[in-house]
Amino acid sequence: MTPASVRVAGGQGFWGDWLEAPYRQVTGGPIDYLMMDYLAEVTMSILQKQKTRDSSRGYATDFITQVERILPVIVERGIKVIANAGGVNPRGCARALADIARKQGGGLAGKLRIGIVSGDDLLAEGRLDGLLARGHELANLDTGRPLRDVRDKVQSANAYLGAAPVVDALNRGAQVVITGRVTDTGLTLGPLMHAFGWAPDAWDRIAAGTVAGHIIECGAQASGGNCLSDWKRIPDLAHVGYPIVEARPDGTFDIVKHPNTGGRIDVAGVTEQLVYEMGDPRSYITPDGVADFTTISLAQAGKDRVRVSGVKGKPATDKLKVSIAYFYGYKAVGTLVYAWPDALEKAKAADRILRQRLQDLKLEFEAIHTEFVGANATHGALALKELDARDLPEVQLRIGVRSPDEKRVDRFTREIAPLILNGPPSVTGFAGGRPKPEEIVAYWPALIDKGMVKPSVEIMDV
């Protein structure tokens, strides 16, 4: 039987988000599904490195400790969890979860079914080289370069899967669905398709579920966090309630939060989240369909309740996006703090001296970038021209370099500290010591024909 409404709660907006949020979402009021997004663009390469060192790793370990805490509650209340915490090892993640479920006892044995979604990993079983050999260029969507130019530097390659395998896992009775690189929006759309029986080509419904997913995929950014609109009056962010989608079978839904939580859900704040990381609003492309954000209607339907309706969609494309991470080079960033008087002038003098020394050493870099934090780091010249620089109490000189050559970057890092004694006066704030050259793992977006990727779903019973 189709339920009259379903509640999908956002529990994590990225790996590193508030550890308390999932617990508060499952205990603060009724929900049917808990959605947790862990994967940013370069997270997969970090996980791939971990897996290379230890084949049991390669997933978001926070997920295990978070689910450990909520496991008794979700089993008791029948709350289903959907998370892309599997990273490059969803099976390993499922095994770790099964282990803690068995350890918890309390009658959990025989009660937990885990669904595992994989098939996104293109490095597995030599798939990537097979694709390249068959003429798939996997050209960089931003630059047009073919992937073969950097093939030997590739560290991870994952196709973005859509909601379909999530729906499959839920249909097969999974209570916790652990995925690899499933789109953030698919983690919300999946449970809605499952609960309401939406067809994969019900394009307006698919678009509506996608918009719902977009709104809650960044956690509290939809419920008062990082919200500029009237931000001083947003109540009690210390106890912010993460957003919940309360959806109906017709594709309309409300964004709400649990009672007695902080934050705010209003049209202005939800609008801010809708335009976040937006490209062409008429074509928000996912593996599941194309949502038209210019058709969305928002209305305040009560305190901390925004109604979303009218969403129109278009058919899915025949491509999937691929997220590739590759080794790019090295970078390092050093900082020093200069104090009043003439803090900005001192920092600028230090920058000139440092650059002269690099030049004298014939050290060239792909990029040298200087910022004066406190004066122009975020708003550049736009800030400087409105600023009375003479009275700034302090300015942080922040200078970074980038190069394919680690030695050059390392040599640069030794040119910061000497400035303390042999540069402009009133300098402090170097307690962190010499900066370390850092490996740059860069992101390479590409497209692949859908037919080249086969999502798979496995079931693990605990």
Partner: protein, 105 residues
């Protein structure tokens, strides 16, 4: 009279690779036509001159009283490559709100 966009609009920004996006939202529907007319792609490109390397695109969302701007080449390569404090373009939003527009009293 001249006002800063900050007085009549709010905004949120983010990234896609080396492109920053800024969603600019009218605080009241009556200000939306003014945004459409005055905050053109060309004007935004001039506003950010020297801070971005590529062109500016603009999209209209009349349903949300919002404009979406794509600032290409804004993030020193973007993501992990970038040496900028704001490598993810998170505060291009408020940088745009420094712009002045003519508001009818």
């Amino acid at each position: 009279m001249k006002k800063k966009l900050l007085d009549i609009a709010h905004a949120r920004s983010g990234d896609k690779g080396d492109t920053a996006n800024i969603g600019l939202i009218a605080k009241h529907p009556k200000y939306y036509p003014l945004l459409v007319k005055q905050v053109t792609a060309a004007r935004v490109a001039r506003h950010f001159k020297g801070m971005i390397k590529g062109p500016v695109e603009r999209f209209e969302l009349p349903n949300l009283q919002a404009l979406n701007f794509l600032l290409h080449g804004a993030l020193d390569g973007g993501g992990t490559i970038s040496l900028k404090t704001d490598a993810q373009g998170k505060v291009f939003s408020t940088a745009l709100l420094r712009m002045e527009v003519e508001v009818q009293r």
